[in-house]
């Protein structure tokens, strides 16, 4: 009787019900897994940041709150080190100069190679990605004699922008290459040429404007690299932001200003990323 009862259920109805239920359960399990992974990794990244924010707001007594560490960013001066503010200024200027030089070097070069000398593409790619494989200490050893000469002439830490451009090459190259791959460079350039455009006009007024998002991405990556760079500046005996924070931590181990400045640098990079992403999205929305 049980078998007859089971058989009275139509096969179509039975098969329609089972897959739908299974799919829903599978989807639910997948979502749970996604949220779990997101939470675990989110905590992994966010907890140290929260701790840093908490320490930066710590008052003189344990358990109290204070903004003094944030106020000190503009005024802190450690023992035997320059003011923190000048290190922040130098680092921001370095970031700006490095971004400009990297883009001015890479954008026209990559467009030109794509348009006219494609056989060079692999070589340039290799050269641009090479810094990824060279440890910072090796770069320092190689550039040390040059920077000794620079320091002899007492030129400022802004001279670090040369080595930062080299460090930023792999990241900027990849971002710009992705942008170039997303547009039909050949057709656009031929269309422009047929209308009377010079090669300079093709690069500056036709191709580069269509790489805005890629250029913004390259900017973000370059700026973030410079803001966080420590090893080369320290080994070449320059004082940028990270070197300054390290020096402060050596002289005043639990200075709240270390945490507030680090957190501020992270916030700055994050805000920069938001602004540039928003600018990119605005451009796409208007189009």
């Amino acid at each position: 009787m049980a078998a007859v009862t089971a058989l009275s259920e139509t096969p179509a109805a039975a098969s329609a019900g089972r897959p739908s239920g299974m799919q829903t359960r599978r989807r639910r399990r997948l979502n749970v897994f996604r949220y779990l992974v997101f939470t675990v990794f989110g905590l992994f990244f966010v907890l140290p940041l929260l701790a840093m924010a908490r320490f930066s707001l710590e008052g003189a007594k344990l358990g109290t709150w204070s903004l003094s560490a944030w106020r000190q960013i503009a005024s802190f001066q450690g023992i035997g080190v320059p003011p923190l503010l000048s290190a922040i200024e130098i680092t921001l200027e370095l970031a700006a100069i490095t971004c400009v030089v990297t883009l001015v070097l890479l954008v026209p070069t990559m467009i030109w190679i794509r348009l006219r000398v494609q056989w060079l593409a692999r070589t340039v790619e290799f050269l641009c990605l090479l810094p990824l494989t060279i440890p910072a200490i090796v770069l320092v050893v190689g550039l040390g004699s040059i920077y000794n000469r620079i320091q002899h002439y007492e030129l400022s830490a802004l001279m670090l922008f040369w080595v930062y451009v080299i460090l930023a090459l792999p990241y900027a190259y990849r971002a710009l290459a992705a942008g170039l791959n997303a547009i039909d460079v050949t057709t656009l350039s031929e269309a422009a040429r047929s209308l009377g455009a010079s090669w300079f006009t093709v690069i500056v007024r036709v191709i580069a404007p269509n790489m805005r998002q890629a250029i913004l991405n390259a900017l973000i990556l370059t700026a973030s690299l410079v803001l966080g760079e420590f090893t080369i500046a320290y080994l070449l005996l320059y004082d940028n932001l990270q070197v300054e924070l390290y020096s402060i931590s050596r002289s005043t181990p639990n200075a709240g200003v270390i945490f507030s400045t680090s957190f501020a640098a992270l916030l700055f990079a994050f805000v920069l990323l938001l602004i540039l992403s928003y600018a990119g999205r605005l451009r796409r929305g208007r189009g």
Binding site: I183, D184, T187, L188, E190, A191, A192, R193, S194, L195, G196, A197, S198, T201, V206, P209, N210, R212, G287
Partner: protein
């Protein structure tokens, strides 16, 4: 032909290509091409992929350099002139509008490069967009308009600079069939209105036959025939042209005294100086008519319908003659009376036919009409 630019008459120019060759390593893309476009005419270059038609257009545009030969436009040798200075308008197969500019800015781009004032530039851009029927889309971006509209804007952009020559590189191939037909007619209308010398490259024979003053059929870097569309279709100069442009039935026959006999039918020849002997005659499906065969005895032109392909107003009927199959093109109403399996009698209309003993061309290609 003349066209005006702000009331000033401007004459259409002749384009002449002499001995043009282009190689890509061992591959011969163009082999000593000689081609002349008369002022104001539209010549379509037709052929299969790799025949050299796009290479020809790119050499005229200056996007590639010829290995040998000369190109003159309006009597001036432009062979070594850079693409930016050739004063030619070009429409590409791929969508070529600048994505970061509006439709209006795209059309005005060439004028801006020529330092035309802002007001004049805008006026001219709107005039061109009016010409292609897209003035209302002036402030949209390319991704906001359809493919057909993009190609019309590209045409407006090419014409805005008042070029001497208009070059069209398969501009319709990325569009669907209905849009293609509409835009094809529009291009022809505009070309006639403006009166500009035009080179149109396509692999679609319907396009070429529909709009060109002359059609140049190319094969392996050479021009097999250059003639008006009706002549290319009805009097093909080579077997390649006969088989590439439209369909052809290949029927064995015998040439005697300047005529060819095919399965009992005597047909005139396109070229009268073919020597007597066995040949293959190329007969168009439209030259074949069918009638029901009621008599019991067979004949050389009696066969069985094996397939009827509906093409809309016409249908293509495949008939098995025993030793070969023949295609006939009939009106659909006539074809419906001859279903598969019917016995039919064929009649071949006495149009001049091309014959060949091999794949070699039967006659030298014409260069000018």
């Amino acid at each position: 032909m003349t066209r005006t630019q702000d009331g000033v008459a401007r004459t259409a120019v002749e384009v002449r290509m002499e001995g043009l060759s282009r190689h890509y390593g061992p591959v011969v893309a163009l082999d000593r091409l000689d081609l002349t476009l008369q002022p104001g005419e539209l010549v379509a270059l037709l052929g299969p992929s790799g025949c050299g038609k796009t290479t020809t257009l790119r050499l005229v545009a200056g996007l590639e350099d010829a290995d040998t030969g000369h190109i003159t436009v309006g009597g001036k040798d432009i062979t070594r002139v850079s693409a930016a200075k050739r004063d030619m308008g070009m429409v590409f197969q791929a969508y070529s509008l600048f994505p970061h500019m509006t439709v209006r800015q795209n059309v005005a781009f060439g004028l801006r490069l020529r330092k035309v004032s802002g007001a004049q530039r805008d006026k001219r851009a709107i005039e061109m967009l009016d010409l292609v029927g897209l003035a209302t889309q002036a402030d949209r971006y390319p991704h906001q308009i359809s493919g057909g509209q993009q190609q019309r804007v590209a045409l407006a952009r090419a014409l805005a600079i008042e070029p001497q020559v208009l070059l069209l590189d398969e501009p319709l191939s990325a569009l669907d069939a209905k849009v293609r037909a509409q835009l094809r007619d529009q291009i022809r209308r505009i070309q006639l209105e403006v009166g500009i010398t035009t080179l149109f490259v396509t692999h679609d024979q319907e396009e070429a036959l529909a709009i060109a003053d002359r059609v140049g059929v190319m094969r392996e870097g050479r021009l097999d025939q250059l003639a008006p569309p009706t002549e290319v279709y009805s009097r093909p100069a080579t077997s390649f042209v006969a088989e590439f442009v439209g369909l052809s039935n290949r029927l064995t026959g015998e040439v005697r005294g300047g005529e060819v006999t095919v399965r009992g039918c005597t047909l005139p020849l396109v070229e009268r100086d073919v020597p007597d002997g066995q040949v293959v005659a190329l007969v168009r499906p439209e030259a074949v008519t069918l009638a029901s065969h009621t008599a019991p005895e067979p004949g050389p032109l009696v066969g069985t319908v094996i397939a009827v392909t509906f093409l809309g107003a016409t249908s293509r009927v495949t008939v098995d003659l025993g030793d070969t199959t023949v295609l006939a093109q009939l009106s659909t109403s006539d074809a419906s009376a001859l279903p598969a399996g019917s016995r039919v009698t064929l009649t071949i209309r006495p149009d001049p036919v091309l014959v060949s003993a091999s794949s070699e061309p039967a006659a030298a290609a014409d260069e000018e009409a």
